[in-house]
Symmetry: C2
DNA sequence: GATCAATTACGAAATGAATCGTACGAATTA
DNA sequence: TAATTCGTACGATTCATTTCGTAATTGATC
C-alpha cells in the first residue's frame, strides 16, 4: 500500500528532488520546474501537488523555518522499478523478452549503448546463481 | 497525429481484439472483458469507449448486419512500440541502458529468457550497420 | 405495416488529475 | 503597531477519462 506509483506531474517533481538530492522547498521546486517551461505553473499548483504527494506518502516533510522542506520517501531506483514493472506487466504481459525486442526495434541503441547493455546482461548472468 | 496512445481502458479493449485477431462486436468484447472481472462493466460503457476509439482512429468499423464489427487500426507491435517509447523517454530519459538495468534488477529473467534476450541483441547488432 | 430484440447514438454523471485563486498566519521590516 | 512578504490551507475550476442510462434506430418476425 505504501508503493503508490506517481502520476505524470508528480513524477516530474520527484525527478527534481532526486536530482538535487537535498530536501527542497516548494518555491525552489517551482523555479526549477518553470525555468525551461513553455507555460509556467503557479506556486499554488505545485504546493497543492506536493501536499497530495505528502499525503500519499510519496514525499516527506520536515519543518524549516516557517516553511517545509520536502524529500522523496523512496529512492529513485525503487520508483523506477515500480513504474517499469507496471509497463512490463500491463503492456508486455510480464515478458521481459518481448520488452527487449520492442526496445531494440525502437530505441535504436548506439553501438556504445549496446555494449553497455551486453555487459549488464553478462554481469547479471554471472550473479544469477546466487538468487 | 494518427499515432494516439491508448488510455488504460482503451488498451484493455485493444488487447482483446489483437488476441482474437478477428473483428468483433461490442457485445463480444464486453463478454470477454467481463468474464473474469470483479466488477463487470455495462454494455454502454464499452460501446462509448469503442466509439471514442473509432473517432480517435484506434479502431476501424465495418458494418455487419445491424451492428458493427471493430478491428484495431494498428497492429499490436506498433502500439507497444509507442507505449514503450513513452516509458523510455519519460521515465528513463531515453536511456535504453538504464531501462535494461532496471529490467534485469526487476524481472529476474530466467536463464532461458536471458538466452533469448542475448540472441535478440546479437541479431540486432549484426543488422545495425544498415541503419 | 406492427412488434420485438439487439444495437447504436446521445448526453450526462462520477472520478481522478492538474491547475490556480483567495484567505489566513507567521516572521520581517518600516 | 502597521505594512510587507513569504508561507500553508482550503476550496473551486478545468480537463480527461471512465462510467452508464435513456432514447432512437435498425433488422427480423409475425
Amino acid at each position: 500500500m505504501s508503493d503508490e506509483t506517481p502520476t505524470k506531474a508528480e513524477f516530474e517533481i520527484l525527478k527534481i528532488l532526486w536530482d538535487t538530492s537535498v530536501p527542497m522547498r516548494v518555491r525552489e521546486v517551482l523555479e526549477i520546474l518553470n525555468q525551461d517551461a513553455e507555460t509556467p505553473r503557479a506556486y499554488t499548483t505545485i504546493m497543492t501537488l506536493m501536499n497530495i504527494m505528502a499525503d500519499k506518502g510519496l514525499l516527506q516533510r520536515e519543518p524549516d523555518g516557517k516553511a517545509f522542506r520536502y524529500r522523496p520517501s523512496r529512492p529513485r531506483e525503487r520508483t523506477l522499478k515500480n513504474m517499469l514493472a507496471d509497463t512490463l506487466g500491463r503492456v508486455f504481459d510480464g515478458s521481459a523478452t518481448a520488452l527487449v525486442a520492442q526496445l531494440l526495434d525502437n530505441a535504436k541503441p548506439s553501438p556504445d549503448e549496446l555494449k553497455q547493455i551486453r555487459k549488464l546482461i553478462e554481469d547479471y548472468s554471472k550473479s544469477d546463481r546466487k538468487r
